[in-house]
């Protein structure tokens, strides 16, 4: 259900974010000129193939880039405060306090040598959310109940948890300091479908209940469609389409979005042959000129090969394409 965000200032605003990794083959442009806004209480999905820069954006928002990662341009405005120029120590207070993360590999996001509850308490104490240890523990017990875990499990170690329990614990940990933004990076990928589905509903429920804003990153567009209000489609480090989830799924504007959707099966939708997209994503150390999708695009023309397209705006959504599929009806054609 799309929310109206026009009247309120977005909680998170990313402006012209570019990021590259220094590699032996030269700089690798992982994210290029990405801009988006996240409204208060809204959830935004980022989808795309592996290596398209989704996780890089997540890490970049938390300023947790690996040593060879370089932020080459852009602003990350959290409640109007730009996070990019902050020192490591200043940034420390924003991490978890304002913006928390549900990790891609929740299996390994818990330190094996400490009790699970203690690891959540640690975050609470680091940000002074609760003054006493008893208060912090009480808070963790509440969080555990909220994500469907028995508070007694606080005293257990991560290896005693099942995959689903660990993921719940990691979600509880993300909620520990009442952050205004939660970044969920493939939070359910490692789980089986049934647990995944239940967890998604709970995550969505918690997000609504606490009216938090969420960025949901996944390669699984089915999952993203279920939990997000808006969706951004990424290809080769660029955001190529952004709009309300229902609109984008109803009528994709970018050929890549259409291709991505037709390569996923749908239970509720009409039956169609799953299509595969020929070719591979481009090498980001040496991206093709113009639109990076042109080597795989059926509609590519001369201008696609020469220049990256400008945004084509339509209502609350836009796409960066020379030949947007505006008149196409239906999905996956």
């Amino acid at each position: 259900m799309p929310m109206t965000t026009a009247d309120t200032e977005p909680v998170l605003k990313v402006v012209d974010l570019s990021l590259s990794y220094l590699t032996r083959q030269g700089p690798l442009q992982a994210v290029q000129s990405v801009s988006f806004e996240l409204g208060r209480g809204q959830s935004l999905g980022l989808v795309g193939e592996s290596g398209c820069g989704k996780t890089s954006i997540a890490n970049c928002l938390m300023r947790l880039l690996p040593d060879n990662g370089r932020l080459t341009s852009g602003q990350i405005l959290l409640d109007g405060q730009d996070l990019v120029p902050l020192s490591e120590e200043e940034m420390r207070h924003f991490r978890w306090g304002q913006m928390a993360m549900v990790f891609q590999a929740a299996m390994n996001a818990l330190d094996p040598v400490y009790r699970v509850g203690q690891q959540v308490v640690e975050a609470i104490e680091a940000h002074g959310v609760e003054v006493t240890t008893a208060g912090a523990r009480e808070r963790v017990a509440r969080l555990f109940r909220m994500v469907g875990l028995d508070p007694q499990l606080m005293e257990r170690y991560p290896h005693e948890f099942s995959g689903g329990m660990r993921q719940r614990a990691v979600i509880a940990m993300a909620l520990a300091c009442d952050p205004s933004v939660i970044i969920a990076d493939e939070p359910t990928t490692a789980l089986d479908v049934i647990v995944q589905d239940r967890l998604l509903r709970e995550l969505k429920g918690v997000q609504r209940e606490l009216s938090m804003s969420m960025i949901y990153i996944s390669h699984d567009i089915g999952v993203v469609a279920e939990v997000t209000d808006r969706i951004g489609v990424m290809y080769a480090g660029r955001l190529v389409e952004l709009g309300d989830t229902a609109d984008v799924f109803g009528a994709p504007m970018h050929p890549y979005t259409a291709a991505l959707m037709s390569s996923f099966p749908s239970i509720s939708g009409e039956k169609h042959e799953l299509e595969t997209l020929p070719g591979e994503p481009p090498n980001l150390a040496n991206p093709p000129a113009g639109c990076p999708f042109h080597p795989r695009c059926a509609y590519a023309t001369e201008e696609c090969r020469e220049e990256f397209p400008a945004q084509v705006q339509r209502g609350s959504r836009w796409t960066a394409c020379w030949h947007p599929l505006t008149d196409m009806a239906g999905v996956g054609q």
């Binding site: 947790l64 420390r92 978890w96 996001a109 818990l110 330190d111 094996p112 040598v113």
Partner: protein, 383 residues
């Protein structure tokens, strides 16, 4: 856990049996026996020779000697040393063993601490000056020829600078006229160290139980306070200057051992750290907004410690059998020296006695580390 320890004890007895057997036959495999020293003397008549042999029991067939040894060893009778006749083996060892244990245990602790501290620092800040300095000097010292390096240390600090004694356990000039024996003072020093370690351990344990009240500098101030009391107490005993003399004799060997061996722990910690630093839970710890030091020490280094602890077993064994070379160069009267002398003179009871203790302690070191592992890594449980 109890049944596990019981099973381990059973295994230890079996292993000890094998060690003793092997040692017995290895020593016997050397040409000659203890009596040879006497029997080669032409002034001793043939009957007296046979009598000496018989008095040591060396005239009996080998299998009989072996059985007698085994029975005595496992009933706690280590016999009388041939070389230190008529002192019992136990008495010789009771004097020598603590000296070696204290020297090498201190050196192990210092070098483990230095190695772990440097290892985690150079892994955390890679490519710094410290990394190059520590790696190059550490590797150089690690591969240095031990006797030459030990002699160089003596030459610099004892001979040229004159800061520390050249070697030995104590300075006879200082001890002249002292009313207590060195062993007496030394045993009191051991008791002091044991009490202090227990105190420090309990303080840290209490700090952990107290939760946030106990964090920060407080527990360390308490421990430092406890340490400050020690010299005051010793000053009142009147033998403090004697203890200080023994301490002064320990500095150079400990420093030498530390310099030679810290690189092992350091490089192991560094590699282990570089692995744990890539783990998701370290990134998660940083994402949680924990201070750098907490991320490094409580998450990265804490997990990196696990494989490093394994290497501690070997250093602990080193702490019991000592190093013949280090003890030799520093004239330190410990078990390393004793064992070497005993083997060379075929002092069978002393060799056997030393080996039983070395075997026992190395087996114990393994058990201690295995038990330590349970506390360090909650994933490990013994059935």
């Amino acid at each position: 856990m109890t049944s596990y320890l019981a099973r381990r004890a059973g295994q230890m007895v079996l292993t000890l049996f094998l060690i003793v057997t092997l040692t017995f036959f290895l020593v016997q495999a050397q040409p000659g026996d203890y009596a040879t020293f006497y029997s080669l003397n032409p002034d001793i008549p043939a009957e007296a020779r046979e009598q000496i042999k018989a008095s040591f029991g060396l005239d009996k067939p080998l299998w009989q000697q072996y059985l007698v040894h085994m029975k005595n060893t496992f009933t706690g009778n280590f016999g009388v040393s041939f070389g230190h006749y008529p002192r019992p083996v136990m008495e010789v060892l009771a004097e020598r063993l603590p000296r070696t244990v204290v020297l090498f245990l201190s050196a192990t602790a210092v070098s483990f601490y230095v190695g772990f501290f440097l290892g985690k620092a150079i892994a955390w800040r890679r490519g710094g000056v410290l990394e190059y300095a520590a790696t190059i000097s550490g590797a150089t010292l690690f591969t240095a020829f031990t006797p030459a390096f030990a002699l160089m240390m003596i030459w610099i600090f004892a001979f040229k600078l004159g800061w520390l004694p050249v070697g030995k356990f104590l300075d006879p000039l200082i001890w002249r006229g002292a009313e207590v024996s060195a062993n007496h003072v030394f045993s009191y020093m051991l008791a002091t160290a044991a009490v202090f370690i227990a105190f420090a351990f309990l303080t840290l344990l209490a700090a952990r139980k107290l939760g946030r009240l106990g964090t920060g500098r407080m527990p360390f101030l308490v421990i430092a306070g406890g340490a400050a009391v020690i010299p005051i107490v010793w000053a009142f005993t009147g033998v403090g200057y004697l203890a200080l003399d023994i301490l002064r004799h320990m500095i150079l060997p400990i420093a030498t051992l530390t310099l030679i061996s810290f690189a092992g722990t350091m490089l192991l910690t560094r590699n282990s750290m570089l692995e744990t630093m890539r783990e998701d839970y370290v990134m998660a710890a940083r994402a949680k907004g924990l201070p750098e030091k907490v991320v490094r020490d409580r998450h990265a280094a804490r997990n990196a410690l696990l494989p490093v602890i394994t290497s501690l077993v070997y250093s602990l064994i080193f702490a019991i059998d000592g190093s013949v070379i280090i003890e030799g160069v520093f004239s330190w009267p410990g078990t390393g020296m004793t064992l070497l002398e005993a083997v060379r003179s075929e002092d069978l009871p002393l060799v056997m006695g030393s080996m039983v203790f070395i075997g026992l302690f190395s087996l114990l070191a393994h058990v201690i580390v295995d038990v330590l592992y349970v506390y360090l890594d909650p994933r490990i449980r013994y059935q």
